[in-house]
Assembly symmetry: C2
Homo-oligomer: 337 residues x 2
DNA sequence: CTGAAAGCGCTTACAG
DNA sequence: CTGAAAGCGCTTACAG
């Protein structure tokens, strides 16, 4: 059977309280005893039960990560960063792919509560403010990658606004004037900010983004492809298109191909995220990189930071700089256009 | 404070034993009492603690998934399948990206043991047989996606051999004779089997795979690109290349492009896995699809199956059929070659 | 410096 | 049909 604290106490001829203290480096224990006990733990292959320890009020050393879908490369990369930082600090992470469905979200939250995990990172939509408030009463929370509405929590996001501006800047510098945007719902803070930043920067240069060149769609590649195809029809088609994530950009690339438009000579495409997808397309996508590693690490740090203290009213918000990765999907606008 | 079983017992005017029984639908409890207790649990927002329950010997309802890297799209998709099936059956999953590094593997295993998770799915290399044997003594195991060497465990894999054969068959039908293979180390059962199946099928048609057209490389895209570039030089370059996963195929695609070879007219490429990457390249990749959903679901099922019974000597091995997905990266071999 | 005892929130024989 | 009590494996005042 697995050795318990009683076994090592008996072997060492001490009380379990003493063993507990040497495990946790608490209280004063003589060097001698300490060494003895360690030796015996080793010999018995003793490993303290985090279950039992958690029951006495200590941490479970487990974190929850709520995201739309772990199979989406963006979240996969973020999850990896979260996992790494967590692991470094002694925490495991449970993944929860919600598909943004309320029912799954509720289920996961309920389960995570019952397991008394130490905290939760939320990168998915969250029913409503009530769900959030209630959740925040039972454990520390941090929003990751997007804002959570109507209730203050620690938040770490990419600087989406600035990212949108960089995309615009890049295209302006290449001489583009007739541009388009393809993004997800503006109910998503990240989408909205990217779009707004892009638009703002354009306007600073006197370029107006036409309504019909600003399309919203679902998150799947096919949705992007369909919308892009629509925009690429007609004589006043844009010479450049900014897509709010890699998947949509892939769709746009495919639409361009089917429309017989060459990228980048006839159409420039800028994407957002810079996941592995951006480097795999042909041409590879110029993309606004989200610092996925920092995003994950910062989320974990913000979470752990809350463990010591009472839930403070003061919530922090970290916006990480994005970076323009120039690849082959963008080029100078043709002069004749 | 959070309600405990004592709170509901007190409110209901019954013992905690009774409450426990209604929660677990055990023993005989009168309809009346049962309803009463349920009502009170509801009112108190009572949620049983899985920590406490686990301490009495019940399940933790948590599973571990050991894989090389959750950021790799293949594992992301498998993880999603595992998560879904687990969630369906009431289990959470902890992800453990090992990078195939012994040190990380050991750490994760140790942590998972301390957390007393109910079982573990292993899709990564595992130090040595001793690690495995020892692990198998403390919890149920299933190997997922690849064989684990030197120690019998339940296993669920794609039928890699047959997959390799399908790839060969497809290319043979297109008239190719001079073919090449690019795959990861043959110490990986999955790579080895794909290669062997491919080769076997070729030989059945009297086609010999030249040594110099059989290259092994690391798992990254760049590695695939480098090796492919090397193979594509020279006058007797292959007219088709079979890559043992999508990432390597992307590398091959890039190498072809840099060498000025058009795909598929001058070079056909078949990949394996059929992750999202295969649908995103240009041209999209013809790929041998692994049934990732079934893989994940079957792994969970094989794991749970072991919960009831003693560790039996009889280990099951499930090999799931692969499927050829024809896209645009393969075409008839040119007649003049 | 060390240990006895209570407690964390459950489950499970066992007795009635 | 219901409950008292022991036990799961720890931690933490508290007393010495």
């Amino acid at each position: 059977m697995k050795a318990t604290i009683y076994d090592v106490a008996r072997e060492a001829g001490v009380s379990i309280a003493t063993v507990s203290k040497v495990i946790n480096a608490k209280g004063k224990i003589s060097q001698e005893r300490r060494r003895e006990v360690f030796a015996i733990m080793e010999r018995l292959h003793y490993q303290p039960s985090v279950i039992a320890s958690a029951l006495t009020g200590k941490h479970t050393y487990t974190l929850g990560l709520l995201i739309p879908d772990i199979a989406n490369p963006f979240y996969g990369e973020v999850a990896r960063a979260v996992e790494d930082r967590g692991h470094q600090l002694g925490y495991s992470v449970i993944i929860c792919s919600t598909d943004n469905r309320d029912e799954r979200i509720e289920q996961y939250i309920s389960v995570l509560k019952q397991k008394r995990i130490d905290g939760i990172m939320v990168g998915t939509g969250l029913g409503n403010a009530d769900t959030l408030r209630e959740l925040s009463e039972s454990m520390p929370i941090v929003a990751i990658g997007r804002e959570l509405p109507d209730f203050p929590v620690h938040t770490v996001v990419a600087d989406d606004w600035q990212g949108g501006r960089s995309a615009a800047e890049h295209l302006l510098l290449l001489g583009h004037r007739r541009m388009a945007v393809l993004c997800e719902s503006i109910s998503l803070s990240s989408s909205r900010d990217r779009l707004m930043g892009f638009k703002e920067r354009l306007e600073e240069s006197g370029v107006i983004l036409a309504e019909r060149h600003m399309k919203h769609c679902k998150h799947r590649m096919e949705d992007g492809k369909r919308e892009a195809a629509r925009m690429l029809k007609g004589s006043d088609r844009p010479t450049a298109i900014f897509c709010c994530n890699d998947l949509l950009a892939v769709g746009a690339l495919q639409a361009a191909k089917e429309a017989g438009l060459r990228v980048p000579s006839e159409l420039s495409v800028v994407s957002f995220d810079n996941t592995i997808l951006a480097s795999v397309t042909d041409p590879p996508l110029t993309s606004i990189a989200q610092p996925m590693e920092q995003l994950g690490a910062a989320a974990v740090d913000l979470l752990l930071e809350q463990f010591g203290q009472e839930a403070s009213a003061h919530k922090r918000r970290i916006a990480l700089r994005t970076e323009l990765m120039v690849r082959a999907s963008t080029a100078r606008a043709k002069l004749d256009e």
